[in-house]
Structure formats: C-alpha cells, structure tokens
Amino acid sequence: MSRQLLEYHSVIGYRFIPGLKARVEHEAGGYLVRTNGAGFRCDREFLPARGPSRRALLFGDSYTAGDGVSNGKRYGDLLETMVPNLEVYNFGLSGSGTDQQYLAYREFARGIERDLVIIAVFVENIMRVNARYRFFRNENNEEVLYEKPYFSLGAEGLTLHGVPPERRPLREMDLPPDARSRIDAGGRFASLRLLARRLGIKDLAQRITRYNPVVEYNRPDDPRWLLMRALLAEWIREIGGPVLVVPVPLYQFIEGTSDPSCYQARFAELARDTGCHLHDPLPDLKAYPKEERRAFRFARDVHYTPAGHRALAASLAPAVQSILDAAGS
C-alpha cells in the first residue's frame, strides 16, 4: 500500500524514483524515504564539484539505502554527524548486488569529485552477484521476479550480460530449467527457513548447526567468490583513489550463531591484493551485550534498526576519519 519506490533503469535494472518523498509502512511503524534528483536515497543532491567539505561516496544495498529506517537514521547519515566536515553521498540501492552497485558507480558517480569511496558489501550480496534473476516484494506485497544485469568471469576478465534487462516481471515457470537455478530468492533454503520460522526455533536451529549462510566464501578458489573478487578488484582499480571496503555482516554473525572466519579471510585477501582499505565492523558489533545485539535487527525484518545503524556508524567513523586525515596530510 506504500508508494512505488523504484523505477526501471536500462543498465542497473532499477533505481529509486527521483524526487520522492514517501513513508513506507513497516513492522516498526514506518519510515521516511526521500530521494534526490539522481534517483538515490540521499538527502543531498549530487554535485560534480566538491565544496569545502570532504566527500565520501557510499555504495551498498538495502543495508546502506536503509530499508526499515528513515534517511537520517542510517549509518551513512550518522557518519556525517560523527566525522567533522564530511558529506556522504549515499548510492545505496535496495536489493542490488555488488555488480549493480558497480554499474551505479559507472552510470552516476564516475564524474563526481570525492575524497573516499566506501563500498559496503552486505556479505549475502555474493549470491546476488551470481544470480540473473531476483525476487522482489513490490508495493502491493506481491512477490515479483525481475531480470538483473550480471557479469561473467572468463579468461579475458569480466563480461557484462543482460543489459538492458527485461523491464517487466517474469514468471518463474517461463524460464528454462538452467535459468531457474540462477534465481536469487533472497537467501538460501527459503522453504527450510520458512519452516524454522514457523516452528519458532530459527535461532536455536542455527546455533545447533552452526548454519553458514554464505558458503560461497568457504574456499578462495570458489568460482562464485572469484567473480565477486574480480568485480571488486576491477571497481577498486577503476576508482583509483582511496577505497574503503566494509563487509556488512548478516545478523547471524553479529549474534554469534554463525562463524564469520571464511568471509573475513576472503576480504582480507582482497584488501591485501588490491591495496584497498578494509574495515570489518564485526568485532565492534559483537562487543555489545547480547540483548543489545538482538536489537540491531527488527523483530521480523532482518534489516538493521536505528540502533544497528548507530552501532555500525560508530564502528566506521574512526576508520573513515583516519583515511581522510591520511589523505589530507
């Protein structure tokens, strides 16, 4: 019943509708969404030339765009209040993969002056990077399947496919069987997850099994990681200047029900090999007491609450500050 928030984009797949002011109904009451003239959920208009402030461009998915919380309560906006003289351009795009975020950079951000680019990789994004289709919940709360652009990794490097993506929703039954395996349903074992939720034992089940929600990071030579890694490396190379990569943890890692060591190792390797800055906020987030950590996500929605955003911003602020200071000196 809320407004339509996204519009078709012929390269990225979609973006926010420019100039939007909306309130999205949500389990916690609802949240306010404002988008700028470029079609991103940012209170600032994107200006090519930098003013006296230091400027960071921030990329990510719904955790960065801030599903569930109003613009001002997101970690990107909070960073502006914690790091002096900083403006953050938020390019977060809900439901996107790192591949689409990279395309958003190419389409909208290349010509924008900045001191720092922050790439926030919600660790689950690796599934989206390896998907050609994704289910979304639209404004009428219906599940709709959309095609997305995607990259493949070959001997000559990355190749972009699926551009322009089909603008209309697809039906799963119309896809060939091999294509169906490339649908991202927003998490693995959707049906199993549903069952666990119904039984009310999800947390318990995860603790017992040490459920790993992102097996794609298990081995450094997993082709799915190799694709993700190639994308990030290419993007970092293209940016040229300072880049900060932030793996944004799933709640299972924050709450200690899953082991993060594999994805942590992969991002450490990436930073070592590309020379980008890396800030892993997980240790800071895990330092909070158990009850507070549970309150970093909503009762049902797994996105970060305002408290989760505050904690993430508090972890990030010193890292951002030190990169900016080093660049400025």
Binding site: M1, S2, R3, Q4, L6, E7, Y8, I17, P18, G19, L20, K21, A22, R23, E25, A28, G29, G30, L32, R34, S70, R167, R168
Partner: protein, 614 residues
C-alpha cells in the same frame, strides 16, 4: 513552538486520518482509498501512513493523537442496540469490549502498533463525536462566527446538535438523542427502497425528482413528530433498528403497501414517490432546525457537518430560503470528516493554536484536495515498469487543449491530477469526465463505465466565474454540495403528467431536458461544482479549454471508480479502472494514455464480484 496533531476516525464506517499542523490542515484521507475496500471501517493504518508521509514527520514528532469519538459512549449504545454498528465494526467493538484493557486502551494499543509509538504525549486523546463534526465544519469555514448544525445517523448517543462557534471556540447548546434521528429516518427509507444503508442515501436523493410526495402526509402522521423548532421524535413502533438487524419492520411495510424492494430489482413508482416524500420531510426538518439555530445563535452564517449535510438538495433549498447570509458545509461530512474535526478540535481547543482565516475570504480546506499526489516521475515509473504506451504533454495549456478536444469528440476520460479529494465526492483530482451536451452521455457513462443503474444524473463542473450562465447560483459551490436550478432558458419543458405516469425510467433519462442534458436532472436541477483556479489550476484550465472549443464552460464530473469500488487513489488504481471499463482516454498527471493503444489487460478472476452495489 510548532504543534502537530493526528486525528483518527475508525471502527464504525469509513475510517480516516487527518493531520493538522499549527492549525493548518496538512493532510486528510479515507482508509478505503488505500485498502481498496469501500467504506473500510478498520483502523486507518494506511491513511495514517499517508498523513505522516505528507507532513514528512516521524510518529514520535506528533504532539497528539486524537480519536474522533468517545468509544465508551459509543460502545454503551452499541451494546444496547446492535444494528447501527454494522457487522465488521461490531466485531471489532466486541473484541475491544472483551479485552481486559478496556476500550480506550485498546484504541491506544491499535495506534501504537500502527505508528510504532504514541507521539510526544504517549497517549491517545478522545473528543466527542458531534464536537468533532462541529469542529470540522466551523474551523475551516470562512466565518469568524457561525451557527453550527450537525446532523447524522448517530454518533455516541446524539444524532443532531445545534451550537455556535466564534473566537472563543465551539459550543454545542442543544442535542437530540438516539434513536430519534433524521439520518436514520432517511436511511430507513434508503433500506426500504432497496439501497444500502450508509451509502445508498445518495441514490434515494437522486430518485426523488422522479416521484411525487404522495406519502409525505403518512410519514408526518405516523413516523415523525416534527415541531416548529425543528426538534422531532420518531415513532419507534415502525423501525427495526433498536431491536433487530433491520431498519424497518412489518408495520412499516404495511404503511407503505408491502415489503421493501429487493436490491437490484426494478425500481417502481412506489420507490420514486417514497424518495420524494421522505426528501420533502427531511428538507422541512432541516429548514426548521436552521431557523431555530439562527434564532438561538444570533449568528448570520451557518456551518454544517454530519452525514445528513451531504443532502445537497436540502442544502440548495436552505441556501435559497435565505435564513442565513452564507452557509458552509464540510464536504467530508460523514464520519471520515470526524478525523479532521478531532485534529482541529485538539489544535484549537486543547493546544490553543490560533485559528487560521484565509485572507481572500475563502475557506481553509484547500479545495478538499488533501490526499496524496503522484509526481510525473512516479507516474512514468509506473507506466515504464509495465510497458504501457503513453504520450507525455508537459505544457499544461497544450495538455488541457488535447484533453478538451477529446471530450468534445465524445471521448470519456479518466482524469487523475494533483492531490486526491478528502470526502465522498470527486472534484477533478480523481474524476471521470465527459461532454455534458450529449443526449446519450448519461446512459453511456452509467452503463459502460460505472456499471450501475442509470437514473442518477451526473454532476457538472463549471468555471466559478461562469456558473451564473448555466445555473441559478450566485455563490461558490466548490464541493458539489449544492443543488441549483439549470437556467430556465436552457431547459426544454416536457409533459410532467405523462412523466409521472411513465414507469420506464430509461425513456425519461434519454429525453433531452436542456442544452446540457447529461447533467440536468428530471426536475431541471444540477449538483454543481464551481471550480476556482486557486483550488485546482489544471482542472480549471481543462474546463476553460473546453469552453474555448465548444462555447460551453461545463463538463461532466463523476467519481473515478466503478460501482461499489472506492474512488481510485494511485496511478495503478486508475489504470486498472480505465482498463476494466470503456473509457477512451486516461490522463495521469502529464501523461495521456489512449485505450486503443493499450495492450490487452489480463486479470485473474472477475473483479465485478469484488464490489457490491450501494
């Protein structure tokens, strides 16, 4: 310091929310528009979401949340007499009463769950039902002081209230209590004539001019004791609503020659004459109450609200009677308007926000365009997402000319433009429009687009400054709440006797009655909307363009929906309604869609089953 108040009406009929900031009306909308369930009585969570969206504030920035009614009093009455609650509302109330929290806390709990919090005050305030109606009529009106008349079916225990408003606030001096109610009397006849209570009253009013007041004497002698001062008592021996789920009983049947008409069966002369008879009684009662209110209040102007105030035929009579210098009627006069009234009551009565008066001497309701708007970017995002072909005309004058030409060519057009109307009438923001000069347009639009009985005339929208060329009307009627005679020189006389003896309504309808046949009722009247350029520039521009092309500054305006469906809200609602009907053109802000260019519209199931007749 700024004060922001959210008003809520709910659990009875047509839930709504409204938001007032420092006495200024920022937003108001009915829940049905979002939930797509007509007269939705449920807690208005979508309407509340919209109000916060329009104000662009967080729920915890609200200074107060105000409920339009005292649910304890209402529950008291509902327990004592079950029928008027209506089933869904009754169920909710039953749950509330069973809850150990008690009703007020239960309302509060609903609000907390919807909003995530209860604003700065941390609790819900409650107003009295008729005070909420009175506030919705007085505070937005253009009058510094005014007599107040609220008339409805029932709210809490009262059905009628007379009072006055001025710089010191609102005072209600006299009330008439349930079960004595003009609204319920009218609803009883609505039910008896085979229409739906709480929404079919408009049909009964539309039917009246086909009839003669042959039952008026019987009604006065048996059903209502109407005193000179307008006070009245109903004879409950004839009504069912105190002790059953029916409005009328066997004694009522006996009085009017048999059982009620079955819904959707043929309308006979009896129903036409009954409609005219009860209309005559109602008008007499309203005039007497108004005279009494004038004497008691000493005020030169009158404001009105409550469901009965939507009877625009009675309002037109009241205006022409000249009892008051000016009258102003709240267009959201049903219980939806209670949400607005409650918020205004709290703003001025509780928080002491100074009343805002319009410098131009007009009201402060903003044309009742208080609902959501959709930007051109949002419209295009919707159309592009679905691949629906459209033509964009950014120049407002060029667009108006194109649409006006289509109307003049006989095209029926769905028109979505600007903020949605608050209240039951479409006023050019969510309207279906057409050419009033056509003799067949009334039937065509009723049968091919609205899918409903065709005896009801359409309303005209005309430029405010040209109204007198077409109608005997010398005041503004921006909310379509006044019925006025079509100017005599435009009318085509016909044989009244033959008309009254004719049972075939369609034959009567298709007979031209004036040079504006589609909007002229059989009694040569019309329910007029005058359009002011400040209220809705695009709609004004369109009518002006139609005048330039045809010489007539009048178009047909009917609500953008099919029968039984809530008026459309979003571009998606509008597109769906457009494709389900035989409309030719759809205007979504600056985008034009021709039916002939659209891909086939596939839908699962039969949508007609979703909507009941009123």
């Amino acid at each position: 310091m700024s004060t922001t108040i959210l008003g809520i009406s709910s659990f009875y009929h047509d839930s709504a929310a409204a938001l007032v900031r420092d006495g200024e009306i920022v937003a108001a909308a009915q829940e049905e528009r979002f939930s797509r369930k007509k007269h939705d009585p449920r807690f208005p969570r979508h309407a509340i979401n919209y109000c916060l969206e329009e104000a662009f504030i967080e729920a915890d920035e609200l200074d107060a949340i105000v409920f339009y009614d005292n649910p304890l009093l209402t529950w008291d009455r509902v327990v004592k007499n079950c029928v008027m609650a209506g089933e869904p509302a009754f169920e909710q109330f039953e749950k509330a009463a069973a809850s150990i929290l008690g009703i007020k806390l239960w309302v509060q709990d609903y609000a907390r769950r919807t909003l995530g919090c209860l604003g700065r005050s941390g609790r819900v305030l409650f107003t009295d039902h008729h005070f909420a109606h009175a506030a919705s009529a007085f505070y937005p009106s253009p009058f510094r002081e005014a007599a107040i008349l609220t008339l409805d079916g029932v709210g809490e225990w009262d059905t009628t209230a007379i009072g006055r408003g001025d710089d010191d606030g609102i005072e209600l001096a006299q009330v008439i209590e349930y079960p004595h109610s003009l609204g319920l009397l009218y609803s009883a006849f609505t039910y008896f004539c085979g229409f739906k209570v709480n929404s079919g009253e408009y049909k009964l009013m539309g039917l009246a001019p086909y009839g003669r007041p042959v039952y008026e004497r019987i009604i006065r002698d048996n059903l209502i004791d109407l005193k000179d001062d307008g006070s009245f008592r109903l004879n409950m021996e004839y009504f069912g609503y105190l002790d059953s789920f029916r409005m009328t009983n066997e004694r009522f049947d006996a009085l009017f020659g048999g059982p009620p008409r079955q819904p959707e069966s043929r309308i006979t002369r009896r129903e036409m004459d009954l409609a005219m008879s009860v209309q005559a009684v109602l008008e007499d009662a309203v005039l007497r109450l108004a005279r009494h209110a004038r004497r008691e209040s000493g005020a030169p102007n009158l404001v009105m609200a409550g469901g009965v105030a939507l009877n625009c035929v009675a309002n037109g009579k009241l205006l022409r009677e000249g009892i008051f210098d000016h009258i102003w009627i709240q267009p959201a006069s049903g219980d939806a308007g209670g949400a607005l009234g409650a918020a205004l009551m709290a703003a001025h009565g509780y928080f002491g926000s100074p009343r805002r008066m319009s410098p131009g001497g007009r009201d402060t309701l903003k044309g009742s365009y208080l609902g959501p708007a959709y930007s051109s970017a949002e419209v295009r995002a919707f159309l592009e997402r679905h691949g629906y072909p459209y033509e964009r005309i950014e120049d407002p004058d060029g667009r108006a000319r194109t649409v006006a030409q289509a109307l003049a060519d006989g095209k029926v057009t769905g028109f979505l433009s600007g903020r949605m109307e608050f209240g039951p009438r479409a006023l050019g923001a969510r309207s279906i429009i057409g050419d009033p000069r056509s003799e067949t347009m009334q039937s065509t639009m009723n049968l091919k687009i609205k899918y409903r009985e065709s005896f009801r005339p359409f309303a005209p929208s005309c430029l405010a400054e040209n109204a007198a060329e077409y109608f005997d009307l010398d005041v503004e009627s921006p909310y379509m709440l006044l019925v006025a005679p079509v100017r005599e020189e435009r009318c085509i006389p016909f044989d009244r006797e033959a008309f009254y003896n004719n049972e075939d309504m369609l034959q009567i309808i298709n007979q031209a009655r004036s040079d504006l046949p589609a909007i002229t009722h059989v009694d040569f009247s019309a329910r007029v909307q005058t359009v002011h350029p400040d209220d809705h520039p695009d709609y004004y521009r369109l009518i002006r363009a139609f005048r330039e092309i045809t010489g007539f500054g009048v178009i047909i305006n009917t609500s953008f929906n099919v029968r039984g469906e809530p008026i459309v809200c979003s571009p998606a609602d509008a597109y769906r309604c457009f494709m389900r009907t035989e409309m030719d053109l759809l205007v979504l802000e600056d985008c034009l869609l021709w039916k002939s260019n659209q891909p086939a519209f596939a839908e699962a199931g039969d949508w007609r089953k979703d909507y009941e007749l009123d």
